[in-house]
């Protein structure tokens, strides 16, 4: 199959993007409505279950919405920016926000370093060890977040876990301290998310034409120089994609924190935004505060998306 070949993508005529709508496609037996017909199911599902809930989320974040309003006991009242003021004057929220950013950054960095290193390693070894590493990584990738979390907690269990025995840590409890608990979650997150980076970057390296590398080597370029001037530039789009994807996944991490630190750690020391929003909404019935946190997260991730789009654009990629 030529699916991986970049050349297989038919280049769109440069002019087509500028005046797309007016050109009737009757030539191919389709009308101007055909694409909309194809899009209809997707747009219907996304409209009803994504756009509308987002709208409602925004709406709730401006209301006073607690158990009393949900059960219909009290009328809802408009709060303006009241919920947001409450949120940003709350030192707890600001701390959770900072924690989330730092923790996500650490997860992304860890995932990328491990993933890219192993991808390069994969290109340097023979088929058998490569298959072994590939299979192990796929196993980690396939493991559901819930079971991955339970297994890692068990591995690091103070009483019965093998890790403490192996390193002679006695009955050190990883989930007791704030930083050790975060470290444990970080390890699990890196474990289950590096395979995506590794496999993708490896596929990218393999897609670099061998002739180019050979030509560069024949011309006497050093390994480092080949990497820097040939491989790295070709990999840049892929690296951008995996970075952004990791940022998105790690920023909204929920299951790992929820399961491993039992809902946010002792006295909430391991809370991240997503868990915090969930706790506010469903544990304390502060639906409007939970919704406001959701809106903040949405806006932050939207910012990341815009950066991503600009990156794609700058590389002259066509959507």
């Amino acid at each position: 199959m030529t699916l991986t070949a970049p050349a297989a993508a038919p280049p769109a005529p440069a002019g087509a993007a500028k005046q797309p709508a007016r050109r009737p496609r009757s030539r191919t037996g389709t009308s101007a409505w055909t694409p909309w017909l194809y899009l209809l199911p997707a747009l219907a599902v996304l409209g009803a279950l994504l756009v509308y809930p987002v709208y409602q989320l925004g709406l709730i974040s401006f209301l006073e919405y607690t158990q009393a309003q949900v059960s219909g006991g009290e009328p809802t009242s408009f709060q303006g920016l009241g919920n947001y003021t409450a949120l940003f004057t709350d030192p707890r929220f600001r701390e959770v926000l900072l924690t989330t950013v730092v923790f996500a950054a650490a997860c992304v960095a860890g995932t990328l370093v491990v993933g890219c290193t192993l991808a390069v390693l994969l290109t340097r070894i023979r088929a058998l060890p490569r298959l072994a590493l590939m299979l192990a990584a796929l196993g980690a990738w396939a493991t559901p977040a819930v079971t991955g979390s339970t297994v890692w907690v068990f591995l690091f269990d103070a009483d019965f876990g093998p890790v403490n025995r192996l390193f002679g840590l006695g009955d050190f409890s990883w989930t007791y301290g704030r930083y050790s608990a975060f470290a444990l979650v970080l390890l699990e997150v890196v474990w289950c998310s590096f395979p995506f980076v590794m496999v993708t970057v490896y596929a990218g390296i393999r897609a670099v034409p061998t002739e180019v590398l050979e030509a560069a080597a024949l011309d006497g370029a050093s390994q480092w120089r080949i990497w820097r001037t040939v491989t790295a530039p070709l990999l840049r789009p892929i690296l951008a994609v995996v970075t952004i994807q990791s940022v998105i996944w790690d920023f909204k991490v929920f299951t790992q924190i929820y399961v491993m630190t039992n809902g946010g750690g002792i006295a909430g020391q391991n809370l991240v935004l997503n868990v915090y929003a969930y706790q506010q909404a469903f544990a304390s019935s502060q639906y409007s505060l939970g919704a406001a946190i959701g809106v903040v997260m949405l806006l932050l991730l939207l910012g990341v998306t815009l950066v991503y789009l600009r990156l794609l654009r700058r590389q002259g990629e066509e959507l």
């Binding site: 194809y38 279950l49 070894i125 019965f160 876990g161 025995r165 390296i205 399961v259």
Partner: protein, 282 residues
């Protein structure tokens, strides 16, 4: 699979790299090995201060306990039903949408693409609140439909984004040829394009499957009173208590929950690797 031959690497270097790779593979696979091992260990060996990396007397006690205490078989079936429904529906819907945005030029095409990308960033958990009210109003609370619909919505944007590359890779000349041969566009889409894109669909469905299979937040929030509709993660968390964990039960349950995904993954493994490369390269 041929190795990328980069001249100038000496043999000892490669042996070192291979040793490092094998060591990494062992470390990465260890948690899964420990999970399966602990599931088969008798209770006495799990609650031991000297855990050994093998067992001489494997037992099925933990599995028995899991299936007896909980209606585990039923939950397993529920999980499978939800995941299958999401995978099939999202494959068809995403395929049509990806075809629309890659094979046609129309007004607002770029806008729609950007919308799909933005939709992908929406944190699922943040929408639990409005979705809960939506499901309540639609009368879907306590049904499996309340899990299928949101997961369908959340897996679509990524699926469409990934499928784009696959649909675009099918040469336009093929479409032209089909038209000349008198095939209608609908016929081209279903009898030519669809089979060609199928490998990509399989790769994409892995993500839909996993995110649906993993979910426990929606299950926890939407299936409040009817436990016969529960899915696996919830059943697993019953065993997970901060003070007194039944580790054997948890590991047995985890094993049962992990195996379908592992099987699915191994089956589509090769397509996945080429699929990601294809999607990302474009």
């Amino acid at each position: 699979m041929t190795a990328l031959r980069i001249p100038g690497i000496r043999r000892p270097g490669r042996l070192l790299a291979e040793a490092a790779a094998l060591l990494t593979a062992v470390v990465v696979a260890f948690p899964l090995y420990w999970m399966v091992l602990s599931a088969f260990k008798p209770a006495g060996e799990i609650q031991s201060a000297e855990p050994r990396p093998w067992t001489l007397s494997p037992s099925l006690d933990s599995f028995r306990r899991v299936f007896e205490q909980q209606d585990f078989g039923r939950y397993f079936l529920n999980s499978l039903l939800v995941a299958t429904a999401v995978v099939l529906a999202s494959a068809v819907v995403a395929f049509l949408a990806a075809t629309a945005v890659t094979r046609f030029r129309f007004r607002f095409r770029t806008t729609i693409l950007v919308m799909f990308l933005v939709a992908q960033m929406v944190p699922v958990e943040a929408l639990t609140i409005p979705l809960f009210f939506l499901m309540r109003d639609a009368g879907l609370l306590n049904t499996l439909g309340s899990l299928v619909l949101p997961h369908l919505a959340f897996s679509l944007p990524f699926a469409i984004w990934m499928l784009r590359g696959f649909v675009r890779a099918v040469p336009e000349a093929l479409e032209e040829q089909a038209r000349i041969d008198g095939a209608s566009h609908t016929r081209f889409v279903w009898t030519i394009l669809f089979p060609l894109v199928l490998p990509g669909l399989v790769a994409t469905s892995v993500f839909s499957f996993i995110s649906t299979w993993n979910d426990f937040l929606f299950a926890k929030s939407f299936l409040i009173s009817d436990t016969s509709q529960s899915t696996l993660p919830m059943a697993l968390l019953v065993f997970f208590k901060p003070d007194e964990n039944d580790w054997g039960g948890i590991m047995a349950g985890s094993t049962v929950m992990t195996i379908p995904v592992l099987v699915f993954f191994v089956l589509v493994q090769r397509r996945l690797v080429s699929g990601l490369g294809g999607a990302v390269k474009d």
